[in-house]
C-alpha cells in the first residue's frame, strides 16, 4: 500500500514548474492508403483511367471513364482492367509475387 502524497508536496511541485504550455499546433499528415499510386502494369496513376481505357476512350452512362482500382490482400493496387488481363496468365501479384486475391475494389 502506498501512502497518500502529503498536500505540502504538491504545492512544492507547482512552484518548481519550469515551463507552461502557451500554444500548440496540431499537424495532420495524409497519404493514400495504398503503397503505390501508379499502376505498375500500365504506369498510369491508379486514379486515372488505364492506358487501355484511355485508348478505347470507354465511357460509362454518365460520360465518365469507368476504370476502377483493385487492391490485393498484399495492399498493392492496380487498375482492374490491367490486373484482370495479367491474372489470366499468372495469378500472382506482379510486384510481390504473392498469390493474388482481391481485398477491395473501387475508386
Amino acid at each position: 500500500m502506498s501512502e497518500e502524497p502529503e498536500p505540502m508536496d504538491t504545492d512544492n511541485q507547482k512552484s518548481e514548474k519550469m515551463f507552461t504550455l502557451k500554444k500548440w499546433n496540431a499537424v495532420a499528415m495524409w497519404s493514400w492508403d495504398v503503397e503505390c499510386d501508379t499502376c505498375a502494369i500500365c504506369r498510369v496513376q491508379v486514379m486515372d483511367a488505364c492506358l487501355r481505357c484511355q485508348a478505347e476512350s470507354k465511357k460509362d452512362y454518365y460520360g465518365k471513364q469507368d476504370c476502377v482500382v483493385v487492391w490485393g490482400e498484399c495492399n498493392h493496387s492496380f487498375h482492374y482492367c490491367c490486373m484482370s488481363l495479367w491474372v489470366k496468365q499468372n495469378n500472382r501479384c506482379p510486384l510481390c509475387q504473392q498469390e493474388w486475391s482481391i481485398q477491395r475494389m473501387g475508386k
Partner: protein, 132 residues
C-alpha cells in the same frame, strides 16, 4: 493506330530517356558493339518481348541462335518490368554470366575453368562484330 502496347512503350521510352540506367542510352548510337533486336508483341506488358542478339555472341547464357537465357524474359516475367528493366538485366547478365545454367556449354566450361581462353574467345567475337 495507338494500341495499349504502343502507349506503354512510349512511356517506357520516356522513362529510358529521362532516367537511363548506367551505361544505357535511350538514343541511337553509332558505336554499337553488339547488335540485338527485340520483338514486342501487342500483349506487352502481359507477355515479355522476345529479345535476341543478331551479332554472334560467345556467352554462357546466350544460345547459338542469339536467344538469351534470362529468367525474367521467360517464366519470371512480370508486367511491371519495362524496357529499362530488361536492358539492365541483360547488361548484368553480360558482365556477370551464370555458368550453372548454360545455353552455351562450351562458353560456360571455359568461363569456369579457363578464364583467359574465355576472354580471348569473347574478344575475338567482339572484334568480328566490328568487321560485320
Amino acid at each position: 493506330m495507338s494500341t495499349p502496347a504502343r502507349r506503354r512503350l512510349m512511356r517506357d521510352f520516356k522513362r529510358l530517356q529521362e532516367d537511363p540506367p548506367t551505361g544505357v542510352s535511350g538514343a541511337p548510337t553509332d558505336n554499337n558493339i553488339m547488335i540485338w533486336n527485340a520483338v514486342i508483341f501487342e500483349e506487352y506488358p502481359n507477355k515479355p518481348p522476345t529479345v535476341r542478339f543478331v551479332s554472334h555472341m560467345f556467352h554462357p547464357n546466350v544460345y547459338a541462335d542469339g536467344g538469351i537465357c534470362l529468367d525474367i524474359l521467360q517464366n519470371r516475367w512480370s508486367p511491371t518490368y519495362d524496357v529499362s528493366a530488361i536492358l539492365t538485366s541483360i547488361q548484368s547478365l553480360l558482365s556477370d554470366p551464370n555458368p550453372n545454367s548454360p545455353a552455351n556449354s562450351m562458353a560456360a566450361q571455359l568461363y569456369k575453368e579457363n578464364r583467359r581462353e574465355y576472354e580471348k574467345r569473347v574478344k575475338a567475337c567482339v572484334e568480328q562484330s566490328f568487321i560485320d
